[in-house]
Symmetry: C2
Subunit: 376 residues, 2 copies
C-alpha cells in the first residue's frame, strides 16, 4: 500500500500498457475493469464475492447516492467504503452524466444543473463545486470532474460549445477539489468524434493538471467503429504517465479494442445487468440462459470457467432458476459475468507483460467466432 496516489506503467505492447495505480486503500492492476455499485451495492453480489472475481476497485454513482441515502448521511456513517463494506478503492462519477440524461427534468446553466430527484421529486443542484463536495463526503478515492456530455445527435458546434463549458467546469472542479493527499481528481476529455475538439479538450485538461484523464462522451450510441476511431488518436493526446479511463465501456470486444488502443481503466453495468436478465458472457460469446435448449443440458455454462456458477451448476439448473424467477439466478449469472470480465482483464495484463497481446486478441476473436457449444 502507498500513502499517496500514483501510477506506473510496467510494460507496453503496441499502444497497450499494463501497470499499477497505487492508492492508500490498495493497488489497482491496469488495465482494470471496475464493476458498478450504483446504490452502494454491486447488484446481486456481496462485496467479498466481487473481490473474489478479481476486482480491485468499484465505481459508485454520485447521482444515486446523493439522492438516497444522501451524501451527508454516508459521511456521518463513516463514508462509502465502510457503509457498503468495501475497503478497497472506490471511484465515483461526478453525477453529471446521469443528470444530463434526465431530459425535461433538469435545467443547465453555466453555473451547473438543477434537477428533480427520480426518487421523491425533490429539487437539487449539481455544479463542479457541489459535485466535489458530495464526492468528498462519500470518501471517494478517485473523484471525477463535473462535466457535460451532450446528448446525441449534436452538431459539431454544439459539441464544441459543450466541451468548452466542460473545460471551464474542469478548472472549477480542480479549484474546488483542493489539496487531498491520497485522493485523485480525474479530468474528462470531451469533443465527440471530432479530432480537433478532442485535442483542444486534452490540451485544456493538461494545462489544468490532473492525476488521471478520462475519455468521456463515448459509448453513448455512436457505435463501436466510431468509438474505436476516436480511440485511435485520443489516448495519444493524454500524458503517458497518467491513467486513462474510458467511461461506460463496455462489451468484451469493446474492452479488448480499447485496451489495444492504450486505455487503462473502464467501467460498465453490463456484466451485472446482463446477469439479472439471464444473459451470460463467455469465451464463446453471449449465452441466453432463458432459451429452452438449455432445459435439459447437464453441462456448465463454460467448462473452462472456475466461477461458482460454472463449477457448481448445470445450464439446466441456471435455466430453471431463471424461469422460476429465483434470486439465485441473478446471483450466479452476475458472479459468472464479473468473473469472466475480470479474467479477460487479467489475461490482457499478462499478455501485455509478455508482449503477446496480438496473439491473445486473435484467440479472443477466434473463440467468439466459434460460437456457443452445440445443443445436446
Amino acid at each position: 500500500m502507498s500513502d499517496r496516489f500514483d501510477f506506473s506503467v510496467s510494460a507496453t505492447d503496441g499502444r497497450a500498457r499494463t501497470g499499477t495505480i497505487r492508492t492508500p486503500r490498495g493497488d489497482i492492476r491496469t488495465p482494470a475493469f471496475m464493476p458498478v455499485g450504483t446504490a452502494a451495492t454491486v447488484k446481486a453480489m456481496l462485496p467479498e464475492s466481487v473481490r473474489a472475481t478479481g476486482a480491485d476497485i468499484l465505481l459508485g454513482n454520485t447521482y444515486h447516492l446523493m439522492l438516497r441515502p444522501g451524501a451527508e448521511r454516508i459521511a456521518r456513517l463513516g463514508g462509502l467504503h465502510r457503509f457498503m463494506n468495501w475497503e478497497r478503492p472506490i471511484l465515483t462519477d461526478s453525477g453529471g452524466f446521469q443528470v444530463m440524461s434526465l431530459a425535461g427534468l433538469r435545467k443547465l446553466t453555466e453555473e451547473g444543473v438543477t434537477f428533480s430527484s427520480h426518487v421523491d421529486g425533490s429539487k437539487h443542484m449539481l455544479s463542479p463545486e457541489t459535485s466535489m463536495e458530495i464526492q468528498r463526503l462519500l470518501g471517494s478515492d478517485i473523484v471525477m470532474a463535473f462535466d457535460e456530455c451532450p446528448a446525441l445527435p449534436a452538431t459539431v458546434d454544439e459539441v464544441a460549445k459543450s466541451m468548452r463549458m466542460s473545460m471551464r467546469w474542469a478548472q472549477r472542479s480542480r479549484d474546488a477539489f483542493g489539496d487531498r493527499p491520497g485522493h485523485a481528481l480525474f479530468g474528462i476529455m470531451q469533443g465527440g468524434v471530432t479530432r480537433e475538439l478532442r485535442e483542444e479538450s486534452a490540451e485544456a485538461l493538461k494545462a489544468i493538471g490532473f492525476e488521471g484523464y478520462a475519455i468521456g462522451g463515448l459509448a453513448v450510441g455512436e457505435g463501436q467503429e466510431a468509438m474505436f476511431g476516436v480511440l485511435d488518436y485520443a489516448p495519444g493526446f493524454l500524458p503517458e504517465d497518467k491513467p486513462r479511463y474510458l467511461m461506460g465501456v463496455g462489451k468484451p470486444d469493446d474492452i479488448v479494442g480499447a485496451v489495444q488502443r492504450g486505455v487503462d481503466m473502464m467501467d460498465c453495468v453490463l456484466p451485472s445487468r446482463s446477469g439479472r436478465t439471464g444473459q451470460a458472457w463467455t469465451r464463446r460469446g453471449q449465452v441466453n440462459i432463458k432459451n429452452a435448449r438449455h432445459a435439459d443440458d447437464p453441462r456448465p455454462l463454460d467448462a473452462e470457467c472456475t466461477c461458482p456458477a460454472c463449477t457448481g451448476y448445470s445450464r439446466a439448473y441456471l435455466h430453471h432458476v431463471f424461469r422460476a424467477g429465483e434470486m439465485i439466478s441473478g446471483m450466479l449469472l452476475t458472479w459468472h459475468n464479473l468473473h469472466y470480465f475480470q479474467e479477460l482483464m487479467a489475461g490482457m495484463r499478462d499478455a501485455i507483460a509478455a508482449g503477446r497481446l496480438d496473439g491473445f486478441v486473435a484467440d479472443f476473436h477466434a473463440r467468439r467466432a466459434g460460437g456457443d457449444i452445440a445443443p445436446l
Copy 2:
C-alpha cells in the same frame, strides 16, 4: 457418515432430547431446523452459505419440483442434490399439503388428488404411489408419506374421516416406497386437536412402521396455545427411538416450545421469507428494517451475531438497501435469519446435553421481552 439411516438420542432434559440422525449423505444434529428450498433453491442464498449458517439438511417441495422443472428431468440430471449443488441430506414433503391448499383447483378421492398446475394449468395426479415415485426420482433422503391435511375449520368427524384416509394412504406409501437402504420414509400423524384421534393415528402409523414420525396438521392457523396443547401429549404417542418431525414450524418461540415438548425436527419458510420482506429475527425479537428509525443507525442488527449482515453492515445500510429495492437486502437478511435460527437450535442442543434447557429457555424469553435496542 453411515451407509444406512439411523437415529440415536444422546441426552434428554425433561421431554426434550438431543441426538443425531445418521444418513449416507451426512449427519443431522437434532433438534434440527430445516431451511426450505422450495424450487431447488433456498431463496436469496447460495447453498454453501446455507451450510455456513449450520444447516445439516434442507427441505424440498415435491409439488413445486414436479411441476417445474419436473421430477424426471431432475432424475436425468443426476437427482436433486446435484441439481441444486447441495450434497447433504434433503427431506422432501409429499406434495399433499400444497395440493390440498389449491382450493377449487383440485379433486380429492380415495385414490388421490387430481389438480391443475399453478405454472401452466396442466393436469396432474398425486397419490401415495405417484408421490413415492416422484420423491424417488428427486433422490430425497427422507421421504414423507402422502397424506391429507383437512382445511380448518373442520368438525371432529371430518378430521377423523380425513385422518383415517391418511392412515390408509400411509400404508400405501409404505408399500410403494419399497426397500431403499439409506433412505427413510416418515409417516405423518394427523387428528387435529383431538387427543383420541392423535392417539389412534399414532397407533396406526406404528403398526405400519416408519423410520421417523411427523406431527402433521399443526401450524395451520390453530394458534400457539392449541398447538402446544397437542404437543403436550402427541410426541409421547410416538416411538422413543425414532425422530419426531413437526411440519411447518415456525417462529422462534414456537420452535423453543416444540423442542421442550420432545420434537426433533422442524422446517419453515419464515426465516427466508421474512428476510426478503425486511423482517429480521434476533435475540431481542423481531426488527422491521424498513422503519425510518434505522436510517441513521450505525449499529449492527445484533451486536452479538457473527453472521455477515451483522459483522459487515450497519442498520442504516440494511435500511437503505431495502428501501432501494436492492437484492443484497434479501441476501443479507435471509442469511442473518437463517444464522439466528440455526444458532438457536445449536444453543438448545448444547443446553439439553448439559441439562440446563430450562435456564436457556428462561433467558430466551427474558431477552425477547426486553425488546430491540433503543433508537439512537
